[in-house]
């Protein structure tokens, strides 16, 4: 039994933590929250220089070719630090979509630019509130031209390229769906930044009006390609969520030990102790589910969809619970802008919705259980 990260992977994690504890403090996050930009361009540059963006990209496409376990440990640290950089959009979504559906030529063209940090990429599915379903995808891809609108696209304001889910044949539903790669700096693309809950993760609406786009993968496979991208991103994002949830527990614990009320530290009241114990339980369950996801991702196991849904649901629940109860443990001061608690509360919701809500992942999880038990 060897269900743990290796010593080398743990060393990489320590290095990442050390770097981020200096370069991505909550002051960095606060500066982004209070500034005009939705990310820290200097931090992004340094992260790319260290090669983190190319961690799991094969060497032949300009990456470090390390692997997904290494990417998972970095993801956890980015999540702990609430790093305000377009890492998840570029690495978990854009690069993974290329690796899954891209032609050799497309991989050769774009992946080295991801690895070097030259470009920011993103992934766009949703076109309105409610569930994302094949029949709701109205954006069309015809003769290399993209038309339509995608909403709340993560890092949509700063991304150079987006991979979007589009319909190639109106009324065809899933059978007509295909992924398309579009240059967001090109003509026919209009983007408008949106006000979002988590100001350290920018989102934008994208409108395509005859924008030039190249197909990625086959027509008719867009839906399943997108699902595979989301599965992989969900596992990586689960590590960010677990990292964030652990920080919330540590913040709550630290505050409770040092805050006195009724003549004693509030950490000595069972109402607080049991709350923190519950946080610990949620966090450990989420960590274990995320580890299983990491194993599936790193071995390319056929259990990836089930592992992804479990990691996603578990990590979302843990981060939600830890971030809200961290505020509760702090009392009134926890609700102020001046404290850092709200950054985590908002990041928990952003990470919990950006790849689709828990409700959808729970349904998918049970579908996977039904097929695996059949």
């Amino acid at each position: 039994m060897n269900f743990d990260f290796s010593d080398d992977q743990k060393m990489l994690k320590d290095q990442a933590r050390k770097f981020l504890s200096e370069k991505s403090t909550t002051r960095t996050v606060r500066a982004v929250f209070e500034g005009e930009q939705h990310h820290d361009a200097g931090l992004w540059k340094q992260i790319a220089e260290m090669g983190w963006t190319g961690t799991a990209i094969p060497e032949e496409f300009g990456g470090l070719g390390l692997g997904y376990l290494e990417l998972c440990v970095i993801a956890e640290e980015l999540g702990r630090a609430l790093a305000p950089v377009p890492f998840s959009s570029t690495v978990y979504l854009f690069a993974e979509a290329l690796l899954i559906a891209g032609s050799d030529e497309q991989k050769k063209k774009y992946l080295p630019q991801v690895a070097s940090g030259e470009i920011v990429g993103t992934f766009a599915r949703a076109e309105g509130p409610g569930a994302v379903l094949p029949k709701n995808i109205k954006t069309t891809l015809k003769a290399g031209k993209l038309n339509g609108r995608k909403i709340a696209v993560v890092d949509g304001s700063i991304a150079d390229y987006a991979i979007v889910l589009a319909q190639t044949s109106e009324g065809a539903g899933e059978r007509g769906l295909q992924l398309a790669l579009v240059d967001l700096k090109g003509p026919g693309v209009k983007r408008s930044a949106c006000a979002t809950l988590d100001a350290s993760r920018g989102h934008a609406d994208l409108v395509f009006d005859n924008a030039a786009a190249e197909p990625l993968g086959k027509a008719g496979e867009g839906w399943s390609d997108a699902s595979r991208v989301l599965d992989r991103a969900a596992i990586l994002m689960a590590f960010e969520q677990v990292g964030g949830a652990d920080v919330c527990l540590a913040m709550a614990k630290d505050y409770a030990l040092n805050r006195y009320a009724f003549g004693r530290p509030i950490a000595s009241f069972q109402a607080i102790k049991h709350k923190l114990a519950d946080m610990y339980v949620y966090n450990e369950l989420a960590r274990s589910n995320a580890y299983y996801g990491a194993w599936a991702l790193s071995t390319g196991a056929r259990e990836i969809p089930l592992a992804a849904a479990s990691a996603r649901v578990s990590a979302t629940q843990a981060f939600d619970y830890a971030s809200k109860e961290n505020i509760q443990t702090h009392g009134g001061i926890g609700f102020t802008w001046q404290m850092d608690c709200h950054f985590y509360y908002k990041r928990a919701k952003e990470t919990g919705l950006v790849l689709g809500p828990q409700r959808a992942w729970k349904d998918k999880l049970v579908t996977e259980l039904e097929t695996s038990n059949a």
Partner: protein, 414 residues
């Protein structure tokens, strides 16, 4: 990262399989869930349990981590886990009645008993000839175990006389011996006046009465002690040091009781039920609320399964496991209660029935009836949360108003 055995573990597994093939029959099909078994252990299978225990003890498989010559192999915790995994695939009565004695009482005896006692008691317990129980809890002391009142008074000839009562004692009705925590000095604060002994459960002064539980079963007992004489050599640890001795036992209890499996009622059983039932809007398995619940419980089950694998990994690498194993019982007990209640909700009015008349032979009703006990036995959900808060997270203990008060001056309430 992988789930494979190390070469040494694989070799041990092979050895174990060969031994099991030679000594037992493979289990065919899934073991039927008997609601009675959830709380009563395998009391009905006593003879089979004893016979199988003897076979294992001869081979050193009864207590793998114990030293050779004491019924063990001097093996690793991982080897013990591997044996358990393989043994569960065979049709054998594996150890229900011996868990408390071998998991808690005998380790305490080994730590505090004299050489003669060890020579006399360890081997008969290992091979299942003698069964032990643990006599700590009392009507006045459940979570607050140290609040116990059973008295041991020293006689002029150096022997001791025990009077009082104990409660919630699992397996007392078929036990030969027990370890008992008593109060030897009521004039000092409660933790300081305790002393541990072992006693003969067949003594005429020991009166064992089964407790009928809310579920109808009787897994526990109440026991009355009237002038039970014990020799001073039956004392475990110094006079007044009983609490320290008890902590040794309770540390073993946490390992022995562990998470349990929730009686084999989990997501697969709930899904099977949901597939078989029709709700207002169609098949239960297609109902969004049902699916959401299934997913919630699945991530808890899977999370625990992989947490166990993290613990096993530490053991496999010869490291001390992290504190994450402490979450198991809290998760399992309430999940059993919630899954069972939800399943009965799906069964509708038929959910009121129990036993053979009920859907799935009353499995969920059995789980629901036993769950409240599981949330209390071996540390209540609340005590377990305190343990996580204090020992894992390092939060302060509760303020104890009885800490420096002599035991006989502590308010007792009703």
């Amino acid at each position: 990262m992988d789930f494979e055995d190390s070469p040494a573990e694989a070799a041990f597994r092979k050895e174990v399989r060969a031994w099991l093939d030679a000594n037992a029959a493979k289990r065919t099909g899934r073991k039927q869930i008997d609601p009675e078994d959830l709380e009563n252990g395998s009391a009905g299978e006593m003879a089979a349990s004893k016979a199988w225990q003897k076979v294992k003890a001869k081979a050193g498989y009864a207590r793998i981590t114990w030293p050779k010559g004491m019924g063990g192999l001097g093996g690793t915790p991982m080897q013990s886990i591997i044996f358990g995994q393989e043994e569960s695939k065979y049709d054998v009565a594996n150890g229900g009645p011996f868990a408390i004695g071998l998991g808690m009482c005998i380790p305490t005896l080994m730590a505090y008993g004299d050489e003669e006692a060890k020579k006399r008691f360890v081997w008969p317990a290992v091979q299942g000839d003698e069964i032990w129980c643990q006599l700590f809890s009392e009507p006045a002391g459940g979570s607050d175990v140290a609040n116990l009142r059973t008295k041991a008074e020293k006689n002029a000839d150096g022997t001791w006389t025990i009077n009082g009562s104990k409660i919630w004692t699992t397996g007392a009705q078929f036990s030969d011996y027990g370890i008992i925590l008593t109060r030897t000095d009521p004039n000092v604060p409660k933790h300081k006046g305790l002393t541990m002994f072992y006693i003969d459960m067949k003594d005429p002064g020991v009166d064992i009465r089964p407790i009928k539980q809310a579920s109808g079963g009787s897994g526990f007992n109440e026991i009355f002690f009237t002038d039970v004489k014990v020799k001073d050599s039956q004392r475990l640890g110094e006079v007044g040091q009983g609490w320290t001795v008890a902590l040794t036992t309770l540390m073993h209890e946490r390992l022995a009781v562990g998470g349990g499996t929730g009686g084999g009622l989990d997501v697969p059983q709930l899904m099977a039920l949901a597939r078989s039932l029709e709700l207002e809007d169609g098949p239960a398995i297609k109902n969004a609320a049902v699916r959401e619940k299934i997913a919630d419980w699945y991530v808890r089950s899977a999370g625990l399964r992989y947490t166990t694998m993290r613990t096993m990994t530490a053991l496999s690498q010869g490291k001390q496991p992290g504190p994450e194993a402490s979450i198991a019982k809290i998760v399992v007990a309430s999940k059993l209660q919630d899954i069972s209640a939800f399943a009965m909700e799906l069964e509708g009015e038929a959910g009121i029935l129990m036993g053979a008349e009920a859907p799935v032979g009353g499995a969920f009703q059995g789980g629901w009836l036993s769950a409240p006990g599981l949330r209390i036995a071996g540390g209540t959900d609340e005590i377990l949360r305190n343990i996580i808060a204090e020992r894992v997270l390092g939060l302060p203990g509760d303020i104890r108003v009885d800490k420096d008060v002599p035991f006989n001056k502590i308010p007792t309430g009703r």
